[in-house]
Symmetry: C2
Subunit: 451 residues, 2 copies
């Protein structure tokens, strides 16, 4: 029997995270202070983050050592399995070889603990008592809640209201881990109250929830802020996904011709992709890298690469990224983790450099792909991950059409156990596609800050 | 760093299931025909099961080969990990060494696919078009639904009504795999209609749902019946759990002084325990084996070892087992998988032979243990598994009191991702304990059939 599952032993958990930044042909555009429009320094970020993470944020070292206490926690689920999707290949009738890296084996069910654990660890070491954060679908919030439980810290989560209502069990998971969870926009913060005054029925957005969490951290010296995506250090921590995949594909005697990941803030995509992009840049490989985003929130395919705020209330620094405008509130699609107006600056920069391509997938196509995957492979993907599944299936069907066998790797970033309402709604025909007229995108982009 | 996770490679999936029956000091009491009260033969079971499973049911071979197509599917999640619960040990301050075998890594989230896959396989080989079954909490139903999807068969599930209402997402999981799910008691069957006529508000029970599924299979030649626990062949398939654990503990350089499993129908318990009980019987070890059941459904600790029906409508043969009476309907506790009036005949027989001990745990204690486990280990256990966690924690605290380090192994048979409502109810103080007056148990037992 050929293998379907490629496992690495515990001692092959990467000892260092991979930083693609020094290998890029052009440096990252600087992060700007929202008032002065001048580049921010580490000191500007100190109210929000521990210094170890700030230094990672601006690091130009290619490798950053993973602390042993972090690897110690990683060991519970890492190295995560890499699967050959033989039953899916059979169901599709494709000559393609489909591999998926499965991050749903973490106790929180997604890739998010890869960064939640080091973020909690560095904060603990530097004396932080409490972490505040936002969460969309709840994958990030539950991961940080778990990491805080492991390191004995408090955790305060602002959960985007549409997800708070759609996913009570994600909230229950966070609370089981001991976290305090509030629907955002809330009346607990100035940012939340300002939104509610204007839009009492706001379903919320990641941008709004970020404002609330940042505000709480900025006002309380014992509380720091933790972000689940977008920032360089978050993307860095996720590179364990790609680094392990490289080794596992070597075990399989294969190498990806095509790599697919879904993008919301960009962290799971960067996590699996940057080690492969690094090899492309070194001239060692020619993997075609594809980011798949929801058509309902198309920052990479229809946004503008420009300086913008990371949040809705404009508390964050200005970063250059693919953005739909910080006031853009995406519809309440079930892939809550992909409902972000912007995109990680590093991912945006790499797209601008032509290091990967981006495409958008409609919600109904994403769910159709997820159901097909579940019936073949048994794993019900998270709605976010369905976008990667849809991208990989499209590539596999292209192979079938061309009659060629390519190797396709995608990141199955999480399971859908907490997202079953979305499958119920999909089966009941309650979900819809989204397509914005050009004027609507243009209007959202018209409000971008002048830099 | 000491290991926390013991993984076996794919080729160490057991090649045979272990059958403890021939090693027992006394033979299993025969299964009796409900009309004649004479032992049933293989032919009597043919309307319900494929012959391969019937032969396993009565086998006295110590090892039964696992077909390659079954091992092929097992490979997706097997061998499952064995963990050393170091963070839990630390939280308890115990000198005990706590290990848990984690069956929640299967795509359906529990140990149930270990038998769902071979049952679907043998049925497929013998030409069955559709499988009918019952499910309590939904772990079994979703596992069989998944297995049927893999082998291209239809699946019809009667889901105990209390769980159907409590766990809509389990139902959605089954439907995502393509199964048809009906709340039981239903008006689709004579058995269901008879119950509804007497008790229109019935919350259902496994016994009732079994009646409905058996009736459907008996009346339709292309449909067979599949049971998720209780029967010898089901327990047999689960022995992969214990067999892998033996190897993994050898990797850890340890051997269990105490083994703990939770019991509903008995399959996950027998699956982890019988390979160790076999070694006890061979004089190679002296592991103390403990079964933990819910105080709300105390078949082992308060039931009678007697001939009884496996279902409520008395369609099944008579089996000798620890039972609370086939008309006993347990309260709607969240550990739906443990709400069965009886107990596997093999498990009952082994208790009668003194090969293990049994204790009952109250619902609130089980959830307290589950929350403590989740905060230490990250995994939120299924309510059923919380009973095993509570049992293991009690043993670990006993070690602490005695100041001795014993090795404790327990089976964490599934995760609680689909059971978060139970954690919400627990946190809200809505759950209660159950303690039956002796007269109530006696009254239930008074109706046992005369054999």
């Amino acid at each position: 029997m050929d293998s379907v599952k490629f496992l690495l032993p515990e001692d092959r958990i990467p000892k260092a995270w991979y930083n693609v930044v020094p290998s890029l042909p052009a440096p990252l555009p600087p992060v700007l202070h929202p008032g002065t429009k001048q580049p921010v320094g580490p000191a500007d970020l100190e109210p929000l983050f521990p210094m170890a993470l700030i230094l990672q944020e601006v690091s130009t070292e290619p490798w950053i050592e993973i602390p042993e206490p972090v690897r110690d926690v990683y060991r519970q689920w890492r190295p995560s399995p890499l699967y050959r999707a033989r039953r899916l290949e059979h169901a599709l009738g494709t000559p393609a070889r489909i591999y998926y890296k499965y991050e749903g084996v973490s106790p929180a069910g997604s890739h998010k603990p890869n960064t939640a654990v080091p973020q909690a660890y560095y904060n603990k070491v530097e004396g932080t008592k409490r972490l505040a954060t936002e969460t969309g679908a709840g994958q990030w919030g539950s991961s940080l809640a778990m990491a805080c439980a492991f390191f004995g810290m408090e955790c305060k989560v602002y959960m985007v209201r549409v997800s708070y209502n759609q996913k009570p069990y994600r909230r229950a998971l966070m609370e089981t881990f001991g976290a305090s969870v509030t629907a955002s926009p809330s009346s607990e913060t100035d940012s939340g109250r300002a939104i509610l005054a204007q839009h009492p029925d706001s379903t919320g957005s990641l941008g709004i929830a970020i404002s609330e969490a940042v505000e709480v951290a900025a006002k309380d010296a014992s509380t720091k802020y933790a972000l689940g995506s977008v920032l360089n250090h978050v993307l860095l921590h996720q590179t364990v996904i790609g680094l392990e995949s490289l080794e596992q594909l070597e075990m399989a005697g294969d190498y990806p011709d095509v790599l697919v990941g879904c993008t919301g803030g960009g962290s799971n995509f960067a996590g699996i992709a940057t080690p492969f992009i690094g090899r492309n840049l070194e001239g060692k490989a020619k993997t075609r890298v594809v980011a798949v985003e929801p058509a309902a929130c198309p920052s990479l395919t229809r946004g503008k690469f420009a300086y913008d705020f990371g949040d809705t209330s404009h508390l964050t620094p200005l970063v250059k990224m693919h953005t739909l405008g910080s006031t853009f509130v995406p519809p309440g699609i079930h892939a809550g983790g992909l409902r972000y107006h912007g995109m990680a600056p590093l991912v945006s920069h790499m797209l601008d450099l032509g290091l990967f391509e981006a495409r958008a997938v409609q919600q109904l196509d994403a769910f159709a792909a997820g159901v097909q995957f579940a019936r073949a492979e048994g794993i019900v993907p998270a709605p976010e991950a369905n976008h990667a599944v849809a991208g990989a299936i499209a590539e596999a069907l292209q192979c079938k059409e061309e009659g060629v066998s390519r190797s396709i790797l995608f990141n199955l970033c999480g399971h859908g156990h907490f997202d079953m309402q979305s499958y119920i709604d999909y089966a009941a025909g309650k979900l819809q596609n989204y397509d914005y007229p050009a004027e609507e995108i243009a209007a959202a982009l018209a409000g971008l800050p002048q830099v």
